[in-house]
């Protein structure tokens, strides 16, 4: 019951806002949205605590069931989504479209209600995706987020950008994602038709039994490409930077922290357990794509001039680590991917809140414009930026480190039967990518936080009275909460790793890693030749 309510509440309030919201003042709309998101979060907590499940027939002619459940893989992502659902609503305070000084979208018209409705719809779709236990249902939920996100980008996007740029970004988003969904739907249909059930639990338990090898490869290929567009994997990532650049702050946050996770989650839920043999064939390509993405994104960030695009490219790099972990086919890799998923959710949310906030203040996010040092004029924003980028470069003690280090480890010792040399090259690429991340992160901090080299104005800390532009109120609250999570889970990663542990053992059978075997043979030969 709690589970159904978790989904119904945001959906109903969203529809309410869409239908009747035009008459409401922005304050009322925000109040409704806030209540809805808080209630959703509490319900999610209850759902997670009780581990409830609903399973009722829905469209019987299609064999489609209203089947939602919670397990360890779902929990972190569901909590992340519900928590960010509150954050984006809180953060929008004072920024509503149509308000004087509102920072979201082209002003004019009372569209605050639509804006909040879109946020809630995205939250609803994401939660439904994470809870879904039926392949067809998963697809339906996956598609729900498409339209509201399109509206967020095209209608509430950056009003400094031209109409054309906004249309291009939002259309790209929709078309890329729709193509991905189509491929995924094909994969799901083949899988469901061939195995005779759409229940994800049964499909996972079967571990691909009864499916011929070519079918498995076909399904895995379709699913990985289809979902990979959403992740996004290299080379189908080119929709992401424009979408992030144009989207309003909340849109960027949801896009990076929630929508991208639906892609990797889909691979974990749909592809890996249901068609293990097929995934095994696809895995090397996935690893290579992830590794190229890590280097590609990192390099692009080194010369990118727009701060928001830069964070978007860094997302491509970070999701590359997740792909690498998934491809390794080991439990360590799976844990790395799940941790990296959540870590990137938190870090990218933090970075987009801060960078979006800076863009609102500056009017643009161009890094070549010399500005006064952030640590002098807005120390709070500066601190959040430092924590965000420190985590982006994989600094241990912050949340980004664990997923990336473990992914590298897992790639060094992939599951049996996978091409070890390729995976080791990918692992090295991952480590090289971590130093590229250091280079671009510190590049941003040097230009924005420590002081721009071309800045000619006064230097040194500004007096506290003149720091009115710094983060305060709702913005400060959201940013500080994320900073606390980034540091907290970075120092104590065990709860998050522990949450996913048992379910990972169900999804991936424990493999005997390649490393010890090969080195052991190396050892024996040496011993034989010794004295």
């Amino acid at each position: 019951m709690a589970l159904t309510l978790t989904l119904v509440v945001p959906a109903v309030v969203a529809v309410w806002l869409l239908a009747a919201g035009r008459r409401y003042a922005p304050r009322t709309a925000r109040g409704l949205a806030l209540i809805a998101s808080v209630v959703t979060f509490l319900l999610t907590l209850v759902t997670v605590a009780l581990r409830t499940e609903v399973d009722a027939p829905w469209v019987t002619s299609l064999g489609l069931r209203w089947h939602f459940a919670v397990d360890g893989v779902t929990i972190p992502l569901a909590l992340l989504t519900a928590a960010l659902g509150i954050a984006v609503v809180v953060h929008a305070r004072g920024r509503e479209p149509g308000r004087p000084g509102g920072a979201i979208g082209p002003s004019g018209g009372n569209s605050a209600a639509t804006y909040y409705a879109c946020l809630l719809l995205v939250e609803f779709g994401a939660l439904a995706t994470f809870f879904a236990r039926d392949a067809i249902l998963f697809f339906v939920a996956f598609e729900v987020v498409l339209v509201p996100m399109w509206v967020l980008i095209s209608r509430f996007g950056d009003d400094h950008a031209t109409e054309r740029a906004r249309a291009d970004a939002s259309n790209r988003f929709v078309l890329f994602t729709a193509l991905g969904s189509t491929l995924m739907l094909l994969g799901i249909l083949v899988l469901v038709v061939q195995s005779g059930t759409s229940d994800l639990g049964l499909l996972a338990a079967a571990h691909g039994a009864g499916l011929s090898a070519p079918t498995q490869v076909l399904v895995a290929t379709l699913l990985v490409i289809g979902l990979g567009i959403k992740v996004p994997l290299w080379p189908v990532h080119t929709w992401l930077p424009p979408a992030h650049t144009i989207a309003p702050t909340a849109g960027s946050v949801l896009l990076a922290a929630v929508l991208l996770k639906m892609g990797t989650y889909g691979i974990i839920r749909l592809a890996i357990p249901t068609v293990p043999e097929g995934f095994h064939v696809v895995a090397p390509f996935l690893a290579a794509s992830g590794a190229i993405g890590i280097l590609w994104g990192g390099l692009a960030c080194l010369v990118e001039r727009d701060l928001k695009r830069l964070v978007a490219y860094s997302s491509v790099a970070h999701m590359g680590f997740v792909a690498l972990g998934l491809a390794s086919g080991t439990q360590t890799g799976m844990q790395a991917a799940l941790f990296g998923n959540v870590a990137h959710g938190l870090v990218s949310a933090l970075l987009f809140f801060v960078v979006g906030g800076l863009k609102e203040r500056w009017g643009s996010a161009d890094l070549t414009v010399a500005r006064d040092a952030l640590r002098d004029v807005s120390p709070r924003m500066g601190f959040a930026l430092v924590v965000g980028f420190a985590s982006a470069l994989g600094l241990p003690g912050l949340v980004g480190f664990w997923g990336e280090f473990l992914a590298v480890y897992a790639a060094w010792t992939p599951a049996e039967g996978l091409p070890v040399p390729l995976f080791r090259i990918c692992a090295v690429a991952g480590v090289v990518g971590m130093s590229l991340a250091a280079a671009y992160s510190l590049r941003v901090l040097r230009l924005v936080w420590a002081g721009h080299q071309n800045w000619t104005g006064p230097v040194g800390p500004a007096p506290r009275r003149s720091r009115r532009d710094d983060a305060h109120g709702a913005e400060l609250l959201v940013v500080l909460a994320l900073v606390a999570l980034v540091i907290g889970l970075g120092v104590v990663p065990k709860p998050l790793l522990g949450a996913t542990e048992t379910d990972v053992t169900v999804l991936v059978p424990r493999s005997s890693p390649v490393g010890p075997a090969s080195s052991a043979t190396g050892g024996t030969t040496v011993e034989a030749s010794g004295p």
């Binding site: 844990q335 971590m434 420590a450 004295p531």
Partner: protein, 647 residues
């Protein structure tokens, strides 16, 4: 007992970290944040002494958060308390405490003092984590956090572009070197299926048989892992070719330099190698790489130190040289655990005299208004405790008996001497030669520094003009911005606490030889090498004094071009810049490919669809019946296909 040890060790790492957090939260209240910082360091010192008392003759594995559940890999996250960790923890805590007490005075007028003190606390916590770690992951955590703290400290005075650049360079160079470190750690961990250092060593060493370990060539996998690991060590410890970040790091405030050079960052590399020395004992190749890198670095850095025009940069090069001296001891295998003890002995003594030198120079620079030798000329005269502190520090660096630097350096010479007849004879001769040359060069630059600090200039106006240009660029990280450093001579009397700190370090440097006994397991002196090194030191002293006749700067005798080149580290920075440029060029290529190739397909697909649409529209208008027909046929086809597949 064990519970006590457990708590002690856990708190030893945790308290400075909490101190950093508290200091940051209390940053508006200067007095509080100073108090918290000093208290955290003091408590760490007490705990480290406690650990030292507890670990006599035994070692304990100390749990932390418990093992991480990450599938096949074991990550137990344990700490280790033994004699080695205890001794190094003590010296780290001593230096940390000294730095914190000193910076309360030194950064008195700095509006970011609280952030500085918190960063130092975090730095201490990270170093103590590396010292106590019994898990490769924890070592990596401490290792990287130290790099981050050094970034923050070097860039502390971020108003200066040179400080921003130095901080960026320091982090990036060490991070690039860490590519090797991480891959090396991963290989070691993959082999053992665990990141526990004990398990890792047992796994890799166990493959080789135990007794004759030194005579067996290590497996290629192990050698590869260790050489990669050494790349990271070279980055942190400033071995060639990663050494050039360290002199630039002098942009940080002087107490930060004391911390980075004496007991943390650069020393961490030596410590990690010492911890894993059992594995290095197996792999000849890795030890040869280490020995050769160390030998080259120690001579090169000592040469560069001689002609520096800024005393802080001279000290930075001396650090490079001395760290290489430590590392060179690790290239040998003596008795069980003996070589690492000798290396750590030099780490111990270097920590004492280098922190002494940096803090004393910081003190002097406030009095004299800069760290360039021009500004400091003759400034040490008549300063009482400061005069003697500088004298003791430089003498110890030069390796004069009976100071602590003499004993520990002789220990390293002893290690090389002992190996002359053994398996590593070739390497030992090479390293020994480098050590003797370094001893001479070190004595030479110390003599020069001392002569410049303690004698007045006599008619050397020409030199002054030549060096004027240097003065500006190498200006000391002034505590209160730029004007205070140049104008405020004698304006801020030193506090008793700061003066006592420097004096206490001086006393420790004098009596440190006794403290060395538990570190190195007794004093090791090779008779021949002692005589040789003292002879070399004496000759160097006399030579430099002769060059300095009539109050000239001895380095000027070499000509201005040499000094200029030395100041710029022989242009090594250009290599890094070129590497950076190459990466940027690749990045530009990637961006271009991203736009013109990867994204061309979607754009192409879009325009193709558009064209098809327009064509279709035309066709439709031209012959509606054909269009209708096509639709009908299509619908029928889809329906048939759907029914057959769904069936």
């Amino acid at each position: 007992m064990t519970v006590l040890t457990t708590t002690t060790v856990q708190l030893l790492v945790l308290l400075p970290a909490l101190g950093a957090l508290a200091g940051l939260l209390l940053r508006r209240r200067r007095a509080f944040s100073g108090l918290v910082a000093v208290a955290a360091a003091a408590l760490a010192f007490v705990l480290s002494v406690f650990q030292f008392a507890e670990t006599a003759g035994r070692s304990d594995v100390v749990p932390t958060f418990g093992p991480l559940p990450v599938g096949e890999l074991q990550i137990p996250l344990n700490l280790l308390a033994d004699r080695t960790s205890a001794v190094i923890a003590v010296v780290v805590a001593i230096v940390g405490l000294a730095v914190q007490v000193f910076s309360v005075w030194y950064l008195r007028d700095d509006s970011r003092y609280a952030v500085f003190a918190s960063t130092v606390s975090l730095f201490l916590a990270a170093m103590l984590l590396v010292v106590q770690s019994n898990d490769l992951v924890l070592t990596l955590v401490g290792w990287e956090v130290m790099g981050w703290c050094s970034y923050l400290l070097i860039g502390h005075v971020s108003a200066r572009e040179s400080a921003r650049r130095a901080a960026y360079k320091a982090f990036l160079v060490t991070r690039v070197a860490d590519i090797g470190f991480v891959v090396g750690l991963v290989i070691l961990a993959v082999g053992a299926g665990s990141t526990d250092i004990g398990t890792v060593m047992a796994h890799w060493a166990g493959q080789q048989g135990s007794g004759t370990a030194a005579l067996v060539t290590g497996s290629p996998v192990l050698t590869a892992a260790l050489v990669l690991l050494l790349a990271g060590v070279a980055g942190k410890s400033g071995l060639i070719p990663f050494h050039d970040w360290l002199p630039d790091a002098m942009e940080g405030p002087t107490p930060a330099s004391a911390l980075i050079h004496a007991a943390t960052m650069v020393a961490a590399g030596t410590y990690v190698v010492a911890r894993l020395h059992l594995l290095f004992a197996i792999s000849d190749t890795a030890r040869i790489v280490l020995g050769v890198l160390a030998a080259l670095t120690m001579v090169w850095a000592a040469l560069l130190a001689f002609a520096q025009t800024d005393i802080k940069r001279m000290l930075a090069y001396s650090t490079l040289s001395q760290i290489a001296v430590m590392a060179s001891a690790l290239a040998f295998v003596l008795g069980p655990d003996e070589a690492p003890r000798l290396a750590l002995g030099h780490l111990f003594s270097h920590a004492l005299f280098k922190s002494l030198l940096f803090l004393a120079v910081g003190w002097l620079s406030v009095l004299a208004g800069g760290t360039a030798f021009v500004a400091l000329r003759g400034r040490a005269r008549g300063r009482g405790a400061l005069y003697w502190s500088l004298a003791v520090g430089l003498a110890s660096l030069a390796g004069l008996p009976p100071l602590v630097g003499f004993f520990s350096k002789e220990g390293v010479l002893f290690a090389a001497e002992e190996s002359l007849s053994g398996h590593d004879a070739g390497l030992a001769w090479f390293v020994l030669l480098a050590l003797v040359v370094t001893a001479g060069l070190t004595a030479a630059y110390c003599t020069r520094a001392w002569l410049l600090l303690s004698t007045e200039r006599q008619g050397g106006l020409v030199e002054l003009e030549a060096e004027e240009g240097q003065d500006e660029s190498s200006e000391e990280a002034a505590p209160a911005g730029d004007e205070a450093a140049t104008g405020a001579h004698e304006a801020r009397p030193v506090t008793m606490a700061a003066a006592l700190t420097v004096s206490a370090l001086a006393v420790l440097t004098v009596v440190g030889g006794l403290l060395l006994i538990p570190v190195s397991n007794g004093i090791h002196l090779g008779l021949v090498m002692t005589v040789v090194s003292l002879l070399v030191i004496g000759l160097a002293f006399l030579g430099v004094r002769a060059m300095a006749a009539a109050g000239h700067d001895p380095a000027r005798r070499l000509g201005p071009a040499v000094a200029d080149l030395s100041d710029r580290g022989f242009g090594f920075d250009a290599v890094y810049v070129a590497a950076g440029r190459a990466v940027i060029a690749v990045a530009r290529l990637v961006v271009r490919l991203d736009r013109d190739v990867v994204d061309a397909y979607p754009r192409g697909a879009a325009s193709l669809t558009g064209i098809a649409g327009r064509l279709g529209e035309k066709a439709h208008r031209a012959a509606p019946s054909a269009g209708l027909l096509a639709v009908v046929v299509g619908v029928v086809l889809i329906a048939v296909a759907g029914v057959t597949v769904w069936h």
